[in-house]
Structures are given as structure tokens and as C-alpha cells.
Amino acid sequence: MSPVVRLLVKRLSISIIVLIGVSMLIFTIARVIPGDPARIALGPNATTEQVEQLREKLHLNEPIWIQYGYFVRDFSRGDLGVSLYTNRPVTTDIAQFLPATLELVIVAGIFMIGFGIPLGIASARYRGKAADNIIRVVSLLGVSAPSFVWAVILMLLFAFFLPLFPIAGQISDTLTVPPRITGFLLVDSLLAGDIPAFLSAAHHIILPAFALALSGIGQAARLTRSNMVETYDKPYIEMAQSYGFPARRIANRYAFRPSLIPSLTIIGLDFAAMLGNAFLVEAVYAWPGLSRYGVQVILRKDLNAIVGTVLVISATFLIVNIIVDLLIAYINPRIRLAERGRP
């Protein structure tokens, strides 16, 4: 078995253990609710019999581990139960709302890497100089406000005062939405060959994605900088300098790649944070993603929907982490090739 395959198998099995842990944790949290979820779901006008029927249906009268057993049984059939809020299967709800959120997060992730890492490289290369200080302050500002603050500020600046971008929504109202294939509007509009729709969707996503990405950009820049500055102290950088390679080449080639290895793990975690922060940005820009659904189901103590939503988000995060691990393995030959035995 090649080392990469072994790594993948190991990571996958750990992720599954963690996911089981997440399901148990969130299941426990969802079941310690004070008050009767059935009563809350049915409202004050329902009769006692109706409430009792729903409790029976949701197995609420059984001990919690039995309830968890039912949950696992249903889950293995791809059934996350029915939402008490929408009266639809939770899987249907998630399939409807998740793509918009993922689309937002992916675009924000591209911004985070595309802006954050080059800023970090520049900062490290000019460490101690003016450019470094400016980048450090700006990236610190980036991480110093929650996404909703950036969302509000960007909206004020670039949608109201300078009306460059639309205020809300995913696509212009005057356009017909392209047929849903992947759920990702940017992809679907391209698949449909509908260029105006694509441009409108792109136009709509820039501001929320940037608001979501700002703290990630700052974090990525800071991380890249600090890991690269550490790498600059390594003997192999001094050796590269002793060969007179240009500073830019030393930064981009000799210092960047080794320092990316520790940065990538944290960037993966930041991606997770963005999945959560997307809730904040979606609320500001009326983005039709998982946010409103998630907040509503939490406020209504909609057990199945809460568990389902959190599980899907965690699974997405774990998948991202596995991808990050594979990227690290690709960059780091020590992982890619089995290490020599040590005495």
C-alpha cells in the first residue's frame, strides 16, 4: 500500500470516528432541550393526543440511547427524518439550501487563498520594512471584526454609497434562474450557456464572498507570514542566499513551499470557520443559503433538522480536511514517500 493511500485510509477512518462523535454530541445537545419539542413544533393549540402521537413518532418517550439507535438506523438509509419546521425530509431541505452556502464559501475560500497567501509572502519577504507593517496591520484588521460587521461595512460602502454591487440576493430579479442541475448558480448558468445569468450571479456573489473572506484573508496572510519568517531562519535558506539566488526567488520558491506545510492545516480550519460565518453574511445579504433555515430550526428546536444541518456541515469540514491532508502529502515528500527507518 502506498504511503498516500495509507494516509488516506487512516484519515478517513479517523474522520468517520469523529463524525460519529459529532452525531452523538449534537444528538445529546439536541435532546437536553428544556421543554417538549413536540409541543413546540405543534404549537399551543394542539391537543394532548396530537402531542403524544408526535412524541411517539419521534421516539421521544424512549431513553436517549434508543433514540440514537433509531437515528443511526435511519441515517444508514440516508434518512435524516422530517423537519418539524418545513414538514419536508431534512435531506430535501439541506439539498435545497446547502449549494448556495457552499458556493459562497468556496468563492470566499478562493479569495482567502488568492489574496491572503500572496500578501503573506510579500509581508515575509519585506519583513521589518514598511510594506510588511502595512500588510500586518491590514490583515490584523481583517481578523478583528466578525463577518457580519464586514458585511455591513462593505454593503454601506460598495452598495449604498458607491453603488457598484447589488445589495442582496443571488441573481438579478429580472433574469430567469437557469435550470437547477448542481445547485451552484455559477455552474448551472454556465451549463445552461446563459452568460447574462452567470455574470449577474458573479456580480452578486462578490460582495458577500469578500465579506466572508476578509477575516480568512487576514488569517491566511498572518499565518503565511509567520511560518515563512520561521522558515527564513532555516539553514537551507541561508544556503540558498549564499548561492546568490534573487530575493524574490528565495521567497517564492525556497521559503514558501516548506512553510506552506504547517499553514495549510490551519487554513483548513479557517474554512470550517467560514462555513459557520456564512450564516452571518447570508443574513446580511439575504443569501438563500442554509443560514435562515439553520437559525429557524434552532429557534424552533426542530431536532431532526438541527442534527442534520450540523452533521452535514461537519462532514463538509472533514472532507475539506482530508483534501488538505492530501495536499500536504503532495507538498511534503516525507509523507509522500515512506520515511526511512530510524535507528
Binding site: 469523529v18 507593517n133 471584526a145 461595512i153 454609497f161 459557520g276 452571518l280 437559525v295 461537519s314 472533514l318
Partner: protein, 277 residues
């Protein structure tokens, strides 16, 4: 200590951080004395002076029921800082103990504790806090509980990493050879060497707790009205953009300034204490 301070004061950014943090802490502690309208922290209604842009004496304007935005920001700082201190006071000891045990003992303890930590870390922080907050009544205590739930794993991970590398150091081996107990080695030998990293992170985190708590209340899952809260102020004001801009802009800037201050200070400490992770 004196060396630490003299290095801190020699860097303009750290000085700015100190000033910002000092200002925030001062205004939270002495809100009663500074706030022009102390009673506006509660459910006061003044329909003769509502939704007014900044003017004297309401320098940050008034909200939809006529309360002074500036006064409310001061009291919001007080609650945010209290929340931050309490959360860290609970989360740090838990996280540190878990991290030390997992990092030093290894084996099954490490596997179980770190997988447990992974479980918490693989739910986005905000989503975890939201779920806890959602099932509980939205009170300040429960807010603290929700944020603590998501906070300790970060300390567990930090201390675990530091412990793992410190455990390779000769002084740990030396203590083992002498026959010192595991508790001694964990808490008296290794822990002091984790302190710089922990202190740095705590400084940064006082800012980030404010950030997360405001995010929760922004979504309506935090401290409830009429208690002043920066997140809910932004959320309320957001509906009246761009005309009543002061309702959102000032609380937003208040969050930014507080978190930025703690970040500057934490960064400076990181450099001085040499705890770059």
C-alpha cells in the same frame, strides 16, 4: 517583566494596542461614570428624541426608541468583557488539563482526548455555539456556557502541541529519571513552559470572545433585549440602512476597535514572550 514592558513600549503598534485595550477596559469598568445616559442600558423609551443622527449630547445618535447609542455601547463592552473573562476562566483550565494529559501521557489517553477535541473542532465554532444556545434559554449564563463549549478545545489543541514538543526536551526526561510523578511533570515542569503561549492566546481570545458573542446575538441567539449588546445593535440597525447608518456603524466600529486592540496586544506579547506557534 521590566524587559517585557520596555520592549512592548518600544513598538508603536503595541502601544496602540495597549491604549485601545486600556480604553475598552476603562470604559467597561467605569461605564456608570462615563455614560451620559446610564439608564439607557435598560428598557427606556424616549419618543421625543428617537432615531436621531449624532448630535450633542447623543454623540453616536439615538436608537429607534430614543436611547443613547454611545451609552449602550459602553454597557455592551462591560457585558462582553465579563463574558470573555468568565468564558476563559472556565475554558482555559479545562483545555489546558486536557492538552497536557493528552500530550504527555500519550497512548489511549491521547487518542480519546484528542478525538474528543477533534469532534468539537470539526463543528464550526459558530454553529456549535448556535446549537447550544438554541436549545437553551437565551440568558447571559447560557451564552457563557455556549461559548465555553466551543472554546476549550482550542486550548486543548494548543497545549497539546506545545506539550508534545516540550516532552521531547531533556528536562522532562531528567525529571522522569529522578522519579518525579506524572502530575509534577505535567503541571510543574511542562505547564510553566506553556504559559507564554497560553497568555498570548488568552489576550487574543478576549477579543475573539467578544467577536463570537456578538455574532451569536447578531443572529438573535445571544443576550436578549433590553440588555445592550453590540451584535444585536448591528442586527437591528441593519434593517435601517443606509438612512440610519449610525445604528450599525458605531456598534460595528466598537467591535472592531476592541478586537483589534486585543489582537495588537496579543501579537506584541507573542513576539516578546517568544511563543510563536
Amino acid at each position: 517583566m521590566r524587559r517585557t514592558l520596555s520592549i512592548l513600549l518600544s513598538n508603536p503598534l503595541s502601544v496602540i494596542g495597549l491604549i485601545l485595550v486600556g480604553t475598552v477596559v476603562f470604559s467597561a469598568v467605569f461605564a456608570d461614570l462615563i455614560a451620559p445616559f446610564p439608564s439607557h442600558r435598560g428598557a427606556v423609551v424616549d419618543f421625543t428624541n428617537f432615531n436621531q443622527p449624532p448630535h450633542w449630547p447623543n454623540i453616536f445618535g439615538t436608537d429607534l426608541v430614543g436611547r443613547d447609542v454611545f451609552s449602550r455601547i459602553l454597557y455592551a463592552y462591560r457585558i462582553s468583557l465579563l463574558l470573555g473573562v468568565v468564558v476563559l476562566a472556565i475554558a482555559v483550565p479545562i483545555g489546558v488539563t486536557v492538552g497536557l494529559a493528552a500530550g504527555y501521557l500519550g497512548g489511549w489517553a491521547e487518542f480519546i482526548l484528542m478525538r474528543l477535541t477533534d469532534v468539537f473542532l470539526s463543528i464550526p465554532p459558530l454553529v456549535l455555539a448556535m446549537s447550544v444556545m438554541g436549545v437553551l434559554e437565551p440568558t447571559l449564563t447560557n451564552g457563557m456556557l455556549a461559548v465555553t463549549t466551543m472554546w476549550w478545545p482550542w486550548y486543548a489543541r494548543l497545549v497539546y502541541n506545545v506539550t508534545r514538543s516540550e516532552a521531547q526536551e531533556g528536562y522532562v526526561l531528567a525529571a522522569e529519571i529522578i522519579g518525579a510523578s506524572r502530575l509534577h511533570i505535567m503541571f510543574r515542569e511542562i505547564l510553566p513552559n506553556c504559559v507564554p503561549s497560553i497568555v498570548t492566546k488568552m489576550t487574543l481570545d478576549l477579543g475573539f470572545v467578544i467577536l463570537i458573542a456578538s455574532s451569536l446575538s447578531f443572529l438573535g441567539l445571544g443576550v436578549q433585549a433590553p440588555t445592550p449588546d453590540l451584535g444585536s445593535m448591528v442586527a437591528e440597525g441593519g434593517n435601517y440602512l443606509p438612512d440610519s447608518w449610525w445604528l450599525t456603524v458605531f456598534p460595528s466600529l466598537a467591535i472592531l476597535i476592541a478586537v483589534f486592540g486585543f489582537n495588537l496586544l496579543g501579537d506584541a506579547l507573542r513576539q516578546v514572550l517568544g511563543s510563536d506557534q
